[in-house]
Assembly symmetry: C2
Homo-oligomer: 554 residues x 2
Amino acid sequence: MILDKLKMIPLGGLGEFGMNCMALRWQDDIIVIDAGLMFPEEELLGVDIVVPDISYLTENRDKVRAILLTHGHEDHIGGLPWILSELNVPVYGTEFTLAYVEGKLEEHRLLDDADLNEMIPGKRFTLGPFSILPIRVTHSLVDCVALAIHTPVGVILHTGDFKVDLSPPDNKPFDLHAFAELGKQGVLALLQDSTNVDRSGYTPSERAVRPRLDEIFGQAKKKLFFSCFSSSIHRIRLAMELAHQHGRKVAIIGRSLDNSTEIAQDLGYLDLPQGLIINPGHIKDHPANKLCIMISGTQGEPMSALSRAAVNNHKFAHIDAGDTVLMSSRVIPGNEKSIYRVIDHLERRDAKVIYDDGASGLIHVSGHGSQEELRLMINLVRPKFFIPVHGDYRHLKRHVELASSMGVVEKAILLEDGDVLEFDKNSATKTGKITVGRVCIDSGGVANDVVEDLVIRDRKHLSEDGIVLPIIAINKRTGLLENAPEIVMRGMAVAEEGLIPEARQVVQRTLDNSSPEEKADYGVIKEKIRNDLKRYIQKSTSRRPLIMPVILEI
Amino acid sequence: MILDKLKMIPLGGLGEFGMNCMALRWQDDIIVIDAGLMFPEEELLGVDIVVPDISYLTENRDKVRAILLTHGHEDHIGGLPWILSELNVPVYGTEFTLAYVEGKLEEHRLLDDADLNEMIPGKRFTLGPFSILPIRVTHSLVDCVALAIHTPVGVILHTGDFKVDLSPPDNKPFDLHAFAELGKQGVLALLQDSTNVDRSGYTPSERAVRPRLDEIFGQAKKKLFFSCFSSSIHRIRLAMELAHQHGRKVAIIGRSLDNSTEIAQDLGYLDLPQGLIINPGHIKDHPANKLCIMISGTQGEPMSALSRAAVNNHKFAHIDAGDTVLMSSRVIPGNEKSIYRVIDHLERRDAKVIYDDGASGLIHVSGHGSQEELRLMINLVRPKFFIPVHGDYRHLKRHVELASSMGVVEKAILLEDGDVLEFDKNSATKTGKITVGRVCIDSGGVANDVVEDLVIRDRKHLSEDGIVLPIIAINKRTGLLENAPEIVMRGMAVAEEGLIPEARQVVQRTLDNSSPEEKADYGVIKEKIRNDLKRYIQKSTSRRPLIMPVILEI
């Protein structure tokens, strides 16, 4: 008879979107599902990424057997470099997911020491007391899996991110049978993606965007700029197919897009006709109406290729009157202002901008299942316990309500980061709370040739490396700087404060080299100042203070 | 024969949402349409409001005859205190609009010197060479007008904000006949609201929300919190009617809501049954299911009553498990994060939160006309020239496209802030550019008993009053302050820097008096620190530096 309990401990993603990370523990064995990051709130400008506090794992470092990845999105794998540098354990993922992970670990010089293991959908493998079956699901990215984890008390089924796409463009079908089979055998707990719990009905198939996109490709009179998330392999493939059909050459601009395309090509997700892709340097050699330029930056990220092109500050991407810019993505809440600023800049260049404004037709579909798909999964799996994952508190709560109302689940449980939920074969009980939280990280590397180094922004580093506040007063009316930039430093050695005059010049130069449009866009100008000052201070002092530009509009 | 031209010069609102202000000049006479404010972008934390630069008006102060107000929303009247303190000219508005203006001017001790003149829809009046006919339109607020301005070269028709509501709750109909009549007589230029140019179809009537709201009132088991924009008089009236029908007493919480309700009652827009309204202090004396609490703060404003109630920090408004919170408003882009934070806090208190998530039924309708209403107006008026107002660049551009495609207008012109457009009877030509811009203003008064004083944040004041950066390091995990707060001052006299130790204590006290929930909400905590520090510095030095709290999450 088993007296011991299975412990489930979410470290991130249950109470926020992003930094998904969940620990499962049986006696002295721990496995971890996903290792994501999230992007900082605007209030935290000065750090690049936020990852979960993994104290629980480092305190139990001898027990952690592996990290299992459901798919290759940043909110599921982006925290890996940070976690592996603290705790080098084996990592399991599908072929495509591991290709992303490899690139990421290489950037941080962690690849050589990493223990990466491929998992194959449908093929069960064992880690100590756990036996894991990856199950193919569909999503906006390719090669995604749910994980059925057989434990001594029963099966824990984690959906990862999914929608039920019955016609996925890669013809790799959602494995409904595997879920049905598990449902028949009995599932102790289902952990399901809450992202779209507010949406009624079904999410359309990824193929559903094709007609409208085809129309737009057909109507574009001059250059066609196509922007989507760099990991949207299905969408990238579709755009390239359409470009080929409409006789347009494709140039790819943006490092992440380049990287994704290369991986997708290597792994057979993209089969490109000879001569379709041209070098961005050769854009000028082709007629405008024979060009499709794939460009990164759908969310108005200040330093992205699209943002820079929009203010006419990109070497190869020039927006001319009559060009079409198609943003095949959604407006992520919180990014509206940045996105609309980019759109306004594009419109001023007389480009036709097509974005997700509710009136542009179906140019984007979500990768997450809506209510009917969530119900379908619950009905197929018929778990004893139901636990929503991936969402703010209100999403988790709605998802508990949705599951409870179906009469299928014995109990739906609202679990939050840090809660410890203990299972035996018949019960699930919250028994405590462990330390969780958010760790702010600044990626030290600023030049392309520098290995990316991770700096944790905690009290220790703050007092060691200090904080630098460049204060800039810009006259909105004239776009001119009103005074020389001020630099305030705290927690830096006195000797280093001698840097201030030169640091002021660095900021001054950044401003001198920026166009009036850039100066009017605080997001862009702050990010430029931060990057240039970071490079300068790092070079002169090898310090990495937190740099938080303050713009005064006067 | 007239050789002179009519000049049209937008000072604000053509290239941004908010701070609507437009000058019309004939020889030595200038009239101004609207005098709005806008709220600062997040990058400008440290100022309260942004108003248009009125240099053009002050440079021509002897020529400015009047300011005409289309209606009482902040983006149309909020800049008045600032403009009148620079340039005290007669103001014209409808009865209800003037009631709002009076309150606003009184706060700033400008009322006694103000020259306020009522205009009555349908009644023409003359200002120098201009003859003005206010025309009743419908909108989310009451007593709104369009302005038909007869000039020596023809009629300029400014719609103000409008939708074509054929069943307005106050039974004051949209004056379609007046527009048709003008169309027959001939209109030189139509200036039309662009806000909803992206929406197809018609905007529903304000009455359309009644069925769903009635249902929610019927289903609420305990206290019902009702939140809407304080100026949504129709909505407030509807909520009160429903409260009465469902046997609930009404308590009103929030100064702006109180003020609006009082004005609406005085002017006959609210006819309240005896005993319906109770004092917020008496909420506790009534059973939960007999209460409707009208509360301000639909946009998650950090210091609003609803935000404070959500973190259990309001004297009278307590959210208990099972209460219903109905947010009868839209999520304004840019406010998502604040709003969702409030919703998450409410959900944690186990309130049922109903907000505009696309799945809650019709709980809010826009006050602005959609494409078909815009086309209807253009068709009725058939102007020679068409000029979109109220919108970002892309809205103005879309609106030009919409008008151009109808075959009714001779020419649609994209005008931006600062452009000078000159009209004669047959032509409209851009002839130049004047100085425009944004002026950042900090309202000096922080306590309720202090007269609100306006401080302009320009170079001059910045060097005089300086800048104060309180830097707070909060440990997200524990919610505790990691070090004593740091205070950085710039541009303050040395003597005043002696204040730093005490200022640190002020910030420390603010933090000590805040709940962990408040400390986790950077918007709230920044605003509290800013207010407390402002009060302290003003009292000790009579200075009003710019205060910009910096939060480090570590």
